[in-house]
């Protein structure tokens, strides 16, 4: 519900809007409209063109790629309202944020909360400038959904840790500069024996092997650590505090998966329009496949309810000054709907929705096939649907483990 404060015309905000408009007019070239942020993509890096570099630098100078982060570490220092104005004006200009990736979405906010002053000064500014890529060293071959069983060890060697073990599902590991990693510093306690460590990917003993997925893409890697020396200064928080910090980071991850730009724009091109193109309409102007027409209506209604629920969660958090209970359901609902939509697209397109490569398919069709296959990951990563259901049942509904 809008309050008077939200709708009050604010002179300062108007001035800020004017500043954004003139900045965009001067710094964002039309030729970059509709392109995307290469750093944010898990499909792989794209070398920046000179124009893209100029755009990224312009945004970095103002800290506007990370608009609400503190100015002292290179952020924009903007209020939430100003950040919203910035977002609105960028959307209107067709501009995109050139600064992203896991550093922005997950690691940065966590380090700002838990890092030492020295760590913030070292790591946050390069993130705000989009100069550095971070990857996540969480999952291991035997620690997926049961993440706390992880075995990669960091042994105390006085002035440094010696890290040994293997991580998997390291998104973008082959392109990353640094890794935020959960490591075991104590074998006697499953949760309290975990620490949060920052590792340079070019350290001797770090080896990365991309994993080819069913989609044919290799966005994930296996990462091997063999006697990797990591300075003690790279420990975030206290030794043994890694599980707490790691979970906080996962909250940022889930928020991004469920509320992130990718999902919000998922239904930008309505299924009904695509279906009219592939299936056609009957004499009454209705989609010629009546079952598909109902399925599309069902999907759109579910999708609208999901978006309204995401908005409700935001309004509730704002009013309560904390996280809304229902935010935990958004990851499950969002990933389910994304997968449903991809399956429906295939059904709509028929064979043209199943092309692997080569002639006879549009780029969009081919991209969709890969997206359909890659999308199967959304209900597995970031805490699987089953894990989210455990969280809902235990934390919200108070259903406990066997006694």
């Amino acid at each position: 519900m809008a309050t008077a404060a939200d709708t009050r015309p604010d002179a300062d905000l108007d001035a800020f809007r004017a500043e954004v408009k003139s900045f965009l007019a001067a710094s964002f070239p039309d030729s970059l409209k509709g392109k995307g942020n290469a750093l944010r993509s898990v499909e792989g890096p794209t070398d920046e063109t000179a124009e893209e570099t100029a755009w990224r630098t312009a945004m970095a100078e103002r800290g506007w790629g990370t608009p609400t982060w503190p100015k002292e570490y290179g952020g924009g220092g903007l209020s939430k309202q100003q950040a919203k104005v910035l977002q609105q004006e960028m959307a209107m200009a067709g501009a995109w944020n050139p600064i992203g990736g896991m550093g922005v979405m997950m690691f940065g906010p966590t380090l700002l909360e838990y890092g030492s002053e020295a760590q913030k000064q070292e790591h946050i500014p390069p993130i705000t400038r989009g100069e550095i890529r971070w990857c996540q060293g969480y999952s291991e071959p035997n620690a997926g959904s049961d993440l706390a069983s992880l075995q990669t060890s960091a042994e105390d060697k006085g002035d440094h840790y010696l890290v040994n073990g293997q991580k998997t599902w390291t998104s973008g590991g082959q392109w990353a500069d640094k890794c935020f990693c959960l490591v075991r510093t104590d074998r006697s306690d499953k949760h309290k024996g975990i620490s949060f460590l920052l590792i340079d990917m070019d350290s001797p003993g770090v080896e990365v092997k991309p994993i080819t997925m069913i989609s044919g893409m290799s966005p994930f890697c296996e990462t091997f650590f063999t006697d990797v020396k990591v300075p003690k200064a790279n420990l975030v928080g206290e030794e043994g505090q890694g599980w707490t910090i790691g979970k906080r980071l996962l909250q940022h991850e889930r928020t991004n998966i469920s509320g992130g730009g990718a999902l919000a724009s998922l239904n930008a091109q309505p299924l009904s329009k695509i279906a009219e193109h592939y299936i056609g309409t009957d004499e009454n102007g209705r989609l010629a496949d009546p079952e598909m027409r109902v399925k599309i209506a069902e999907f759109e209604m579910a999708w609208n309810t999901f978006l309204l629920t995401a908005r409700r969660a935001m309004e509730e958090s704002k009013a309560k000054g904390g996280v809304s209970e229902i935010s935990s359901i958004l990851k499950n609902v969002g990933s389910k709907l994304g997968q449903q939509r991809a399956e429906m697209l295939i059904e709509i397109m028929g064979f043209r929705g199943l092309g692997w490569e080569g002639e006879g398919f549009t780029d969009k069709e081919l991209k969709h096939v890969r997206g359909w296959l890659f999308g199967k990951a959304t209900s597995i990563y970031g805490g699987s649907t089953e894990i989210q259901n455990n969280i809902i049942a235990k934390r919200i509904l108070g259903m406990l483990d066997h006694q």
Binding site: S272, A297, A302, T305, I326, A393, L397, M399, Q403
Partner: protein
Amino acid sequence: MAVLNEEQTMLRDMAQEWTKNESPVTAWRKVRDEGSNFDPAAWSAMGEMGWTGVIIPEEFGGSDFGWMSLGLVVEQLGKTLTASPLVASSLAAGAIILGGSQAQKEAFLPRLASGELVGTLAFDDGPRHSGAVSTVAVSEGKLTGTKPFVHEAESAGLFVVLASDGVYLVEKGAGVTLSDRELTDMRDHAEVTFDGAAAERLADGGDDLAEAILDRARILTGAEMLGMAQHVFDETLDYLKQRTQFNQVLSTFQSLQHRMAELFTDLELMRTAVEAGLQALDTGFRVPEAACLAKSRANDVLHVISRQGIQLHGGIGMTDEYDVGFYLKRARVLEASWGNSGFLKDRHAKLAGY
């Protein structure tokens, strides 16, 4: 739960308190066992608390608190299955607010606001809802035809009737005959036959008046269904936390935890859709779309929750002595009212142009 203002919070808390103390499910059980339509004392209490006038403008004796506020009350009544014509009568008032002349408003709204007069909608010609269409004809101010299933018909003194050329007001009296229809929910339903009954047209609502009235019916019925779904969910969760099998409390079984987590997710999505519908009525923004969403989510989710409510209670859920069955039986009646999910999906597609 939508973020509420102070007035809405007070109204909701009052309704919650009242239903808990004065109108628990045992009160409904008593009404059913006596074979009556509702408890007159409860209805007059609702009038005194102002619930009958929540959406009616102040100049006609209401409080003009809006649909969201009314929905909050109706949701509480749904939780305890309180038998009353509040939904039907509010919808009749809503129809007059939308399409009534000044004279019609003056004649009916103050009496509806006080609860002294009960109104209801008599819209559908057949056994299932098929939109704003009717073959009932009016000639020279006299209405003739049959409406086979009318909610709260015995209690009503005023019928808002859909005819082939518009919406009419008909007062109970000469030319109006009722035949009781006992549906599975044991609430007040009847077939209403009009035989030359005096009818006044609601002339000011525009071409979409009947649709606008139906949209209100869909959303407000959704609010009642939300209360029912919430109650069945809460009761079932409590039951799982108490009942022991294989030396373990049922709520510790992961398969049941996951089922409840999924029902919780469905329930919260239903809440979003219903509350968004009520808010749409207050702001007037995209009401038809919001109504489709609210009622279709309410249909689908209450359907599943009312079934799972029985299943998860096991054998005791099958007994008349236990309450959960009442919700299943009322759920299906409300699902069939003002559009089942198939109808609403079709309507959504039409509104979206495909």
